[in-house]
Amino acid sequence: MNGAQDLGGAHGFGPVRPEPNEPVFHADWEKRVFAMAMAMGFTGSWNLDGSRATRESLPPAQYLASSYYDIWLEALEAQILANGLATREEIATGRAAEPPKPVARVLTADILEPRFRVGFPSDREPEGPARFAIGETVVAKVMNPVGHTRLPRYVRGRRGVVEAIHGAFVFPDTNAYKRGENPAWLYTVAFTASELWGPEADPGGRVTIAAFEPYFDPA
């Protein structure tokens, strides 16, 4: 969706402000939001693409005015509600009024490190051959889906070159809504800075994206 999350190339946000000796978390509540989001994701009630889709669905003014973990908290509550794991009243009061909904898994402290050490790979068996070859010029589609997508606006309609083929991966545009993993070939596609930004762009600059086959047409 063309939401506030799609920030590449936007102006007006000022300089980047690194924080010396930055802590991992800036408040205890951030720690709990991070951990709850991880643990609730582990229950299998939704997937990572769904979490991203929910976060970027915040109204743009709210998204841009919120801290990172504020956005996570908003999205976490929204996903709990949308998946029927709790009611609005229960979230408001912090007390259960109804029995829990069964979940696939519950994260326990003893399995955390081995399970996270393995990770949650999102590559899958391809359903057919790759359409594009390394070195081939492709054009990012002009598309404006109202739902989740991982094709940023700043490359749409631009010509790039396939630099790598990573295999078939879970397709976020459908997986976010539990409409299937639909494995799609994932490519690294490189764009020249001048193709993206015009003649004023940094000479010799390039931007690469990792993007799915359905996002491209042959040049």
Partner: protein, 213 residues
Amino acid sequence: MTHDHHHHDHDHPHGSDLTPVEARVRALESLLVEKGYVQPAALDALVEMYETKVGPHLGARVVARAWTDPAYRDRLLEDATPTIAELGIGGRGGEHMVVVENTPEVHNMVVCTLCSCYPWPVLGLPPVWYKAPAYRARAVIDPRGVLTDFGVGLPETTRITVWDSTAETRFMVLPMRPAGTEGFSEEALAALVTRDAMIGTGLPLSPGAEIQP
């Protein structure tokens, strides 16, 4: 770390000592624990893992190994995930790693314009600036200006490639080994490798500068 969040005081969920967001988070945790969806000990372990165990010191080990072992470097650039796993490093947020090498001709910089994708197993959780709009907006359109914000000036002849982390591939930069480090041990080299050097918004420290903050 404090454990006062374990006082699930159902009668006073909005105690006057809590800010609104603190009260809201505490209420949510109480509810999720009562429902049996999450376990407080697992939440504690998650926080501890990412505060104390997983962080850029792990990526620095990978870089130092690549600087001292050419065969390792070659494998790392060819197929990063198993090569990083040789050092016992990997997992969530780094299931599909790609390592890109800086040279005198090309400097690499990593961003996620759409959210906050970042190679957790080698760098830990991302800093606030990496997740904030200023960096996400500007890294792709003005990377040289972003480097200036970090106090990094590259020769005009060095071209910049920006890697936008728009899928589940996660990128780490292999910076150039600093001059004057001939004969350094892997451990001494790793101490020169900063987090920002592995994102591409910084350069490794020079020998003798390790003790700087």
